[in-house]
């Protein structure tokens, strides 16, 4: 691999001039051509290790995902990657498995200068740790966030989204609506519950605590919770699950028990993952603009990397209720 010095020699100029050509500095047209020819002839590509050291940047964005196999995240990552690439950044993928230790190791990459900033979704880590990191380095929260710390975020209005989902069920005549929620340590879980309750109240329907259950994140967890709900004496006639994965688990249980969706039980999910549309019946859900969220998160982060002082505003993106077969009027 040739170095800038060899190019300089070949072109009969100094390394400074070559560097200027590379970075669009002030160079006379004649010289520029000379240098460009040398670059082409030697098939030269600048060594980023040298450049990065000198510039003290890595042009890497650390993307911390709790679970890469959860299809919810993949589209966000696509958005992040596209926006990053457009700005000359690459993404360092970090699958945290919601494991604090792994997160810590990855956070160290910032100190080691291997990453210029972080986009985090659903951090398992102590909020105080994240806060400290946020003071020193550019950080952006995506989807799941804490408002207690001064770190900007991209998200949707979960309260309104859950409200709409529940209201949809109410509108088509359901009065007995269960909520399969996640762990309420998550902000989104608390917010979606709030939206669910808000809709019930608007329709003067009392909240039945028996119908509010807390599941994990997995398909199996959705199955289990649905089994529980169907075991109640007073069964719900519809379910709102806070993720499509949970909803798909519910769907499976309902059918396994010989009941029909939507005739016997209506189901609404959340996220609009690809598979929501592949189920039988197809799943009514809330669409989150995931690709766009990724793009905005990356752009926001890059802005902050370029100008640390820059105050960036949180971004709330639009969501959308997508009505499919699982809640056809009954």
């Amino acid at each position: 691999m040739p170095t800038i010095e060899e190019v300089a020699k070949a072109a009969g100029v100094s390394v400074a001039t070559v560097s200027r050509v590379l970075n669009n500095g002030q160079v006379s047209p004649k010289t520029r051509i000379l240098v460009e020819n040398a670059i082409r002839e030697l098939n030269y590509e600048p060594n980023m290790l040298g450049r990065n050291l000198r510039r003290s940047e890595s042009r890497m964005i650390l993307t911390m995902i709790p679970n890469i196999s959860n299809p919810f995240y993949s589209v966000i990552v696509e958005g992040i990657e596209d926006a990053a690439r457009k700005n000359g950044y690459n993404i360092l993928l970090c699958n945290t498995e919601a494991d604090v230790e792994r997160e810590k190791i990855y956070l160290d990459l910032l100190k080691q200068k291997l990453a210029d900033g972080i986009i985090t979704m659903e951090p398992a880590i102590d909020i105080d740790v994240l806060k400290e990191v946020g003071k020193r380095y550019p950080v952006v929260q995506c989807c799941e966030y804490s408002e207690k710390i001064n770190i900007p975020y991209i998200a949707i209005d979960n309260v309104t989204a859950a409200y709409k989902a529940t209201k949809h069920l109410l509108t088509i005549g359901h009065k007995k609506i269960a909520l399969i929620n996640s762990d309420e340590k998550f902000m989104y879980a608390r917010q979606r519950k709030e939206g669910y309750i808000k809709a019930l109240q608007e329709f003067d329907i009392p909240v039945n605590e028996d119908w509010i259950v807390n599941a994990g994140l997995s398909f199996e967890s959705g199955q289990r919770m649905m089994k529980y709900l169907l075991s109640l004496k007073d069964k719900p006639s519809a379910v709102f699950a806070v993720s499509d994965i949970l909803a798909i688990g519910a769907l499976k249980t309902i059918k396994d028990e010989g009941l029909k969706v939507p005739q016997d039980i209506g189901v609404v999910g959340f996220d609009n993952i690809q598979f929501a549309n592949m189920m039988n019946p197809t799943l009514t859900t809330i669409e989150q603009p995931r690709y766009q969220m990724g793009v905005e998160a990356a752009e926001m982060l890059i802005k902050r990397i370029k100008d640390k002082k820059q105050k960036v505003e949180n971004v709330i993106l639009d969501h959308q209720l997508i009505i499919r077969e699982s809640t056809m009027e009954y």
Copy 2:
């Protein structure tokens, strides 16, 4: 951020000694403790940009995935990531969208020293280009591969796997078995077709070309192909799809047309993605040891990075037929 020089000053030693402590060089126990204390006090972390430049390595593995949203790949990436981390490598995620231009841009990262090697799955790029890259840099093929070029690969025995899947259908009594294949530009597509034919021949069943269709990669494509198969005068009684995504598309079409799986039509997929088990009915499929494939690919690559000359052997991992509801005896 403190530098190695400041640590040296604080510990009252030279930078060389600090570096030796950092790299487990020969240092007297007393001095080592002195340095370690200084490191702790200053909260020092080595700047990897400096180290990488000096060592002329990036400790990054470029992972080229055609489509990050395809759940087939995510588990492989998990394996790659875990193995990489264990060896002190990070992974640079590259979603190629099977786009040659994007691939080229990513391949340039090697020249630029931003990555030490590549793991590629289903390269869209010209096989000759890949061959050239493989001569100069460490490359490993994962899952999809070409044998025409001298680049090691991790894969399964697709012929035998497809043979087993088809034989299973034959064994439970099916005689009219369709194949929903992918584009035969893919090695795996050609191999799986071969296995399918082999099984039919073993059972003395003539190959019916009408029942062999080539689909794309998407769910919708699976739906379309199944629709076509059901429109035939002489319909198949079972389908073997070369991916779960295609099989799930087929499943949907079959049910939309009012037919029952497995009673009316048996379905077998391939890959054993997470969702295969969430369908109704659950999907019979071939399990690929995806996590393990990722691990092996990463380890093989790292071996090659550390010793360019090293001749590594291709690895064929075991697969497994997983029988579920979609092919219960009929």
